[in-house]
């Protein structure tokens, strides 16, 4: 069942300690786990060092097919480092990393190619048949059908972020990586884009890894919330509340307090 599509599997091992000869082969061999049909991404013992600073320290993570996972953590905790590793943008990570199917990314800034019209941004690198037709359909889905011929620099922040989502989704990814894509949007736009992401997720069913620093965003969107601390996943919660969710749902309020304390924020109110 598990068609093993060669995703961006990078299991690079770098021996950094001078003099210490590391058995490179053993690390690579034990790291790559076998993919089960219900698993879309497997990370085993992922380590990333920047100089003598260890940002990810033997991190393990499994993401199920179609699962919506939110990754929280204080700034500098390595959230984006993990996402970049999964996106195949980091060649200096050590450990095992396996993704079944294709990966698409929407970044914090929309990162549209400014000299390509919105539609051409979507078809860039798209190998599926009828790329133009698919791009038009994807743009219609995010409500940008009439902006297909526009230059990216003329889009508003919300439009650009929707175009960026469409560019990721038009590739029908097995895993969609979202790197704080809502943080630069104003509060009202953010609400509509949250709804849009949930709709798109329901319609296309990719697994989503959302990196965010916004506790409420994680609570509203995710099936599972992870907190990254000390280079590992320190906490994990499953959110069972049905969607669409409201912030004042009692389960979410309880979870919110737990999340904030896990992130080192003392809850408000008298002690």
């Amino acid at each position: 069942m598990a068609a093993r599509v060669p995703g961006p599997v990078s299991a690079t091992v770098s021996a950094q300690a001078p003099g210490a000869v590391r058995p490179a082969a053993t690390v690579a061999a034990t790291a790559v786990a076998t993919a089960v049909a219900t698993v879309v991404a497997t990370v085993r013992g992922l380590t990333r060092r920047f100089g003598d600073r260890t940002v990810l320290d033997g991190l393990d993570l499994t993401i199920g097919r179609g699962e919506f996972v939110a990754l929280l953590g204080r700034s500098g905790s390595g959230k984006s480092t993990l996402l970049r590793a999964l996106a195949g943008l980091d060649e200096e990570v050590e450990g095992g990393l396996e993704v079944d199917g294709s990966v698409a990314v929407a970044f914090q800034e929309p990162r549209l190619v400014p000299w390509k019209r919105v539609r051409d941004n979507l078809t860039l690198g798209l190998t599926a048949p009828d790329p133009a037709g698919r791009a038009e359909a994807a743009l219609a889905e995010v409500g940008l059908a009439d902006r297909a011929r526009a230059w990216p620099l003329t889009l508003s922040g919300g439009e650009a972020q929707r175009a960026s989502l469409a560019r990721a989704l038009v590739r029908e990814p097995g895993l969609l990586l979202l790197d704080e894509p809502f943080s630069a949007l104003d509060a009202l736009t953010r609400i509509t884009v949250h709804r849009l992401v949930l709709d798109l997720w329901a319609a296309h069913g990719p697994a989503v890894l959302l990196v965010t620093h916004d506790v409420d965003e994680a609570l509203l969107l995710a099936d599972r919330i992870l907190v990254l601390d000390g280079g590992r996943l320190a906490h994990e919660w499953t959110v069972a509340a049905p969607r669409p969710r409201h912030r004042d749902h009692p389960d979410l309020l309880t979870l919110r307090a737990a999340l904030l304390s896990a992130l080192g924020v003392t809850p408000e109110g008298p002690a």
Binding site: G88, V113, P114, G125, W151
Partner: protein, 281 residues
């Protein structure tokens, strides 16, 4: 504006039409342009007056009226068109050769570290050479025919294009290169869709600089030794104290310079539409 606001407040669905403001902005343009012609015209009139009154002898500087008459004569006799054709050919050949070399070397240096290590040190060293100082060597190597003139233009053109294109390639946003990786673009597609279009604005800056230098290099090359072209016409006129012909030659040089600059600007507007529409907002 206030009327529009008032109507809006009274409950009518009147939208402030931005067009009247635009119209008044464009109306100001030509009027300001007209004002800008006054001072040059006054200078030309004073110049003419000084020549007529004998304050400015013709052997130092001919009168504007004399220059205009000479220009007409030179066109009628075919001297000026021939000279322009010869000079234009030198510039075009030299520019083409220099552009190919400059952009080609910038691609080699810009797209790989090995290329940079091979090309860039040499280009930086050559850049330090005063290239007009190379004229004696060029004469020794290539004689006094067309070759040294065309080569001098080519050399002058290649450096601004090399430096700007190289900087343009290296200045391409690394974040877009990351996007290209996540979109699974190969190396060729990355260069074609991201690197080259990203370097284009800077390359066009280099193009404008290099065209300016091209005319400069031609003028210098034609002063040294020539038997045809604008430079020859000017040098020949100096022998006979014909300041009117010299001024005509200089005016033609600057007109040609402005013309090529306008061509590049036209090219820029077409190539950088994606930026122009943004700036126009």
């Amino acid at each position: 504006m206030s009327v529009v606001q008032l109507q809006g407040e009274l409950g009518g669905a009147v939208r402030a039409d931005p067009r009247p403001r635009l119209r008044s902005a464009t109306a100001r343009g030509p009027r300001r342009g007209w004002h800008r012609w006054i001072s040059p015209l006054v200078v030309v009139l004073l110049w003419q007056l000084a020549s007529v009154l004998g304050l400015l002898p013709a052997r130092l500087l001919a009168a504007p009226s004399q220059i205009a008459a000479t220009a007409l004569d030179l066109v009628r006799s075919g001297t000026l068109p021939t000279a322009i054709a010869v000079s234009l050919e030198r510039v075009l050949l030299g520019f083409a050769a220099g552009a190919v070399a400059g952009v080609g070397l910038a691609l080699v240096a810009g797209l790989s570290r090995t290329g940079e290590n091979a090309v860039d040190p040499i280009m930086q060293m050559l850049r330090a050479l005063p290239f007009f100082g190379l004229i004696p060597l060029f004469i020794l190597w290539f004689g006094i025919g067309e070759t040294p003139k065309v080569l001098l233009v080519a050399l002058a053109v290649s450096f601004p294009l090399y430096l700007n294109t190289f900087a343009g390639i290296r200045g391409v946003d690394g974040k877009l290169a990351e996007v290209a990786r996540t979109l699974r673009l190969g190396r060729t597609a990355l260069v074609r869709h991201i690197v080259l279009p990203g370097a284009l604005p800077q390359t066009l800056v280099g193009l404008r600089q290099s065209l300016g230098v091209a005319w400069l290099a031609l003028i210098v090359a034609e002063q040294v030794n020539a038997d045809a072209g604008l430079g020859y016409m000017i040098n020949d006129a100096r022998e006979f104290l014909r300041t009117d012909v010299i001024v005509v030659g200089l005016l033609v040089y600057s007109a040609l310079g402005l013309l090529t600059d306008a061509l590049v600007r036209l090219l820029e507007r077409r190539a950088l539409v994606w930026r122009r529409e943004f700036l126009a907002r």
